[in-house]
């Protein structure tokens, strides 16, 4: 990887790329997942512009390698918590695209019955616990999930995704400290896309080496090239194994970049177009597809097959969402309490 853009922090572990794989099925699955997330989100942007999706819409485009690479490392019994930029995580975790799209439409067939929207995707059956719009707010929950597993004697791992902005929150520090103190099975997964909304890392952190922060709480930590899906997968697998083995929590930093604005309504005054263009050269989908073909892992035709499959799935998801129904307003106050309560 020669085209590595400038970095504020120390270098991540070396890139691996498609050459690091020998299983064509795995390569296809990774590419499929990344393309699926990419196309799904592009469709979301289109539907947002058409007024079908409302609220805030935060797109993951550029960062797909992380969800696609990391999620397969987790078992069904593990717990996943994510941020408000979590469409990719939900898709990668297996939440049906139709249920996600319907949620963004606000339909009751949505994965949160239309109560959450883009930022609050939930699927308890897949142990996908959101979907949180409070930066740093899900880290303490992750500690609690892990504590419960520990107390109940289960070997589950709790994976908690968050961004570089969250490391400025007190809850990040409290949570890393408590998880390390109690040696809980939490995997802290930091997607460092270099901007907390519009504020560059160096403009909000005195120490831009995030792994060093984790180390201060005596968490083993590692920084990974988040644009390299294979590197992400390898590092995450190793971390999951370590945490599952009962060796305490771990911190992983994925160095990545979002290609699109923070949300749909963001003129991007805070970064140069040249910088964005430079990172686009490292697009995780394109680089992986190119390398996988180049090293003979995938046939040149696979890309088109995947695109067709994905287009079909997304069309079906949109149709599902369009056909979805509105929950009756009489149900407005349902699910505030388990029992019907008149406050």
């Amino acid at each position: 990887m020669n085209a590595s853009p400038p970095r504020e922090g120390p270098d991540a572990s070396p890139a691996i790329g498609a050459a690091g794989l020998d299983d064509p099925d795995r390569a296809r699955a990774l590419l499929w997942q990344m393309i699926r997330i990419r196309r799904f989100e592009e469709k979301c942007a289109e539907l947002y512009s058409a007024g079908r999706i409302r609220g805030f819409l935060h797109l993951y485009i550029g960062e797909e390698a992380i969800a696609a690479g990391a999620m397969p490392a987790l078992a069904e019994r593990d717990n996943v918590l994510a941020t408000y930029r979590e469409h990719g995580h939900a898709l990668a975790r297996g939440v049906p695209a139709g249920a996600i799209m319907a949620e963004m439409y606000g339909k009751q067939e949505g994965c949160s019955r239309g109560r959450g929207g883009s930022m609050h995707l939930f699927d308890a059956s897949r142990r996908f616990f959101g979907g949180s719009a409070i930066v740093g707010g899900s880290l303490p929950l992750a500690v609690g999930y892990a504590l419960a597993d520990r107390l109940a004697g289960r070997d589950s791992v709790t994976a908690c995704f968050f961004g570089d902005g969250a490391v400025a929150e007190g809850e990040f520090h409290e949570s890393l400290n408590l998880a390390a103190l109690w040696q809980l099975p939490v995997l802290f997964l930091c997607e460092n896309n270099r901007y907390a909304m519009g504020t560059a890392l160096a403009r909000h952190q005195s120490q831009v080496d995030l792994a060093a922060k984790a180390a201060a709480y005596r968490l083993p930590s590692e920084s990974v090239d988040g644009m390299d899906v294979v590197a992400v997968a390898r590092a995450t697998e190793a971390a999951v194994d370590r945490v599952r083995a009962g060796r305490g929590p771990m911190f992983l930093e994925y160095r990545t970049y979002r290609f699109r604005a923070h949300s749909m309504f963001d003129p991007e005054h805070y970064r140069d177009k040249a910088e964005v263009e430079q990172w686009r050269q490292r697009c995780p989908v394109e680089t992986f597809a190119r390398d996988a073909v180049a090293c003979g892992l995938l046939a040149a035709t696979v890309r088109d097959e995947i695109e067709r499959e994905v287009a079909e799935e997304i069309d079906a998801a949109v149709a599902f969402a369009e056909a979805g129904t509105w929950e009756p307003v009489e149900h407005l106050c349902h699910d505030v309490y388990a029992r019907e309560v008149r406050p």
Partner: protein, 326 residues
């Protein structure tokens, strides 16, 4: 059935012990609940009895240990989180309000947070403005939370047990001045339901509507009023959210006069909420404008005479009733 006379903190401890013994999923977590024996000695002896896994001392990280309680509750446990005072709970406000109160609804009913958070509230101990406030009314504003304020010894242990059976987050407010007060309990701890207010004294002429630490001042005021020939009813709300509207309106329909005694400040308060509901639901039962006895609108000061002046006292309640009855 045996009657015991015990301190309120002992009643709380009996409730905790019964909960820990009765359900493996229950554990207690908070600052100094273990080796120290609890800031207010409520959990004294429980570490030895139940071990470090279930009586967990935490760092001074209110947000994270409260959030961890929520996470553990989401993941099948029945945690009891102890926060030292209501003022400190403000550090955990994000977790309580953005997570505990919202997750069931935001997930479309998929998630459940069967968490109990206990904290002390109220003034009267010369602890000044960062340890003495009564913010339970604030929490009672939040849909998704259940707010309870046990004022009697039976409720102190029994409402905790009932709270643990509740599938939703329950915040228990224990008035600090009650901790040392003695009272009686009957037999073994048993769950005390969380849905209804209780008439602690029957009366015909005026309803004193109150809860928590103010219950005892209201009862003392009712005693004084009785000597002056005024027959006051005292209604203990017990649960501040959801409010037992039926009990409130029934009392108003009986006495036609209301004094709400609330240690919280009056502006934008629980007392305001109660009186508004009375106006909405029992307007034509009112025979005089409703009256409030609340704390003065000042951060609670340290000096004894000033603190006493800031917080409602028995004579304030008596005076309010006299004023109301003309």
């Amino acid at each position: 059935m045996t009657t015991q006379t015990i301190a309120y903190r002992e009643a709380l401890r009996q409730g905790l012990r019964a909960a820990l013994a009765g359900d493996e999923r229950v554990f207690l977590m908070g600052e100094d609940v273990g080796r120290y024996g609890g800031t207010y000695a409520v959990s004294h002896g429980l570490l030895e009895e139940f071990g470090e896994a279930r009586i967990r001392d935490t760092p001074l990280s209110e947000s994270t240990f409260t959030g961890a309680g929520i996470g553990a509750a989401l993941n099948g446990m029945r945690p009891i989180v102890e926060i030292m005072t209501v003022n400190f709970s403000l550090l955990a406000l994000d977790q309580i309000i953005n997570n505990a109160a919202t997750l069931r609804h935001m997930s479309g009913g998929q998630l459940s947070v069967p968490l109990v958070i206990r904290m002390t509230t109220g003034g009267g101990r010369q602890l000044a403005a960062q340890h003495s406030h009564s913010l339970e009314g604030w929490y009672a504003h939040i849909p998704g939370l259940r707010i309870v304020a046990p004022a009697t010894h039976e409720d102190a242990r029994g409402m905790l047990l009932a709270a643990l059976e509740d599938p939703d987050p329950v915040l228990i407010f224990e008035h600090a001045l009650l901790l040392g007060a003695e009272g009686t309990v009957e037999g073994e701890p048993h769950p005390m339901e969380l849905d209804h207010a209780a008439i602690r004294r029957e009366g015909r002429q005026v309803s004193l509507i109150t809860y928590g630490g103010m219950l005892h001042k209201s009862l003392a005021a009712a005693e004084q009023l009785a000597k002056a020939g005024i027959d006051a009813e005292v209604l203990d709300l017990r649960t501040l959210r959801p409010l037992d509207d039926a009990a409130i309106m029934a009392s108003v329909a009986k006495t036609h006069r209301v004094v709400v005694v609330d240690e919280g400040w009056r502006s934008g308060s629980l007392s305001a909420e109660i009186i508004t509901r009375i106006n909405e639901q029992a307007f034509f039962e009112l025979d005089a404008p409703p009256v409030r006895v609340c704390s003065q609108e000042v951060p609670v000061p340290y000096a004894r005479h000033l603190e006493d002046a800031a917080i409602p006292q028995v004579e304030d309640i008596v005076a309010a009733v006299h004023r109301l009855l003309g």
